[in-house]
C-alpha cells in the first residue's frame, strides 16, 4: 500500500478540494492519501467530500497552533 502526500498549504478555494480529488483518483484502493493545508473551509469540506464518496477519513490533525491542518484518508 502506497502513501501519497499532497501539500496545498497557502492555496485557496477550490484548489485544496480539487488537488485532494486528483490525488484520490490517482491512488489505488487501500492507499493512504495525506493532505496538508491551511485553507479553513477545506478542513471541513475535504472530509465532507470523502464521506460523499464513501472514503474513510482516518485522522484530522491541527498543526502550527491551528494555522495548518493535515487530513489522512484511506482510498
Amino acid at each position: 500500500m502506497a502513501e501519497m502526500e499532497i501539500d496545498v498549504r497557502g492555496q485557496t478555494c477550490p484548489v485544496p478540494l480539487v488537488e485532494c480529488r486528483k490525488a484520490l483518483k490517482k491512488a489505488s484502493p487501500g492507499d493512504l492519501v495525506i493532505v496538508k493545508g491551511t485553507h479553513p473551509a477545506s478542513r471541513k469540506e475535504i472530509p465532507m467530500a470523502c464521506e460523499a464518496m464513501g472514503l474513510k477519513v482516518l485522522e484530522i490533525e491541527d498543526k502550527e497552533g491551528g494555522k495548518e491542518w493535515e487530513i489522512k484518508i484511506r482510498r
Binding site: 478540494l17 480539487v18 480529488r21 469540506e45 465532507m48 467530500a49
Partner: protein
C-alpha cells in the same frame, strides 16, 4: 447513475466564469459528475486566448476595476481560469458549446479551444444533461 451538476454559462464576465468553474470543480471534487454549457457571451470565453479576457460584471470601470480585482486575486493566491479549466477537464468535466451562438456570432470551430469541447449542441443537449441532474445553475 451518479449525482450530477449542470451549469449554463451565459455570461462572459470574468467573475462569473470564475463562479462557474469553481462550482463545477467543487462538484467534481465532491464526487459528482459536472458539465458546463457555454452559450452567448459565455461561449466567447472559449475563443482561443479569451478565457480570462472578460470584463468584471460590476465596477469594471473601463477595465480599472477588473485590474484591481485581478491584483487582489493574485495576492490571495486564487488559481487562474486556465488552471481551473485544466483541472475541470482532468477530473472528467464535460464542456458543451452552443451551436446557435456560433452561428449568431459568426464563429468557426477553428476559432475555439476545441481540445476542451466534448460536445456541440443546442437546448436539447442541455435538457438531456439536466434531466437527471441534482444541481443546475444559470450563470
Amino acid at each position: 447513475m451518479g449525482e450530477k451538476t449542470v451549469i449554463i454559462l451565459h455570461s462572459g464576465d470574468m467573475d462569473k466564469v470564475y463562479s462557474a468553474l469553481i462550482i463545477a470543480n467543487g462538484a467534481l471534487a465532491m464526487g459528482m459528475e459536472a458539465s458546463i454549457y457555454f452559450t452567448f457571451w459565455g461561449l466567447m470565453r472559449l475563443k482561443k486566448g479569451e478565457l480570462d479576457k472578460g470584463p468584471l460584471s460590476k465596477m469594471n470601470m473601463l477595465g480599472l476595476g477588473r485590474q484591481m480585482i485581478k491584483q487582489r486575486m493574485n495576492k490571495a493566491n486564487v488559481a487562474s481560469l486556465e488552471r481551473l479549466m485544466n483541472d475541470f477537464k482532468e477530473l472528467g468535466g464535460k464542456i458543451i458549446a452552443c451551436e446557435m451562438t456560433m452561428e449568431i456570432m459568426g464563429l468557426s470551430k477553428e476559432e475555439l479551444r476545441t481540445e476542451w469541447i466534448d460536445e456541440w449542441g443546442a437546448v436539447g443537449s442541455y435538457i438531456q444533461e439536466a434531466r437527471n441532474a441534482n444541481v443546475t445553475l444559470f450563470i
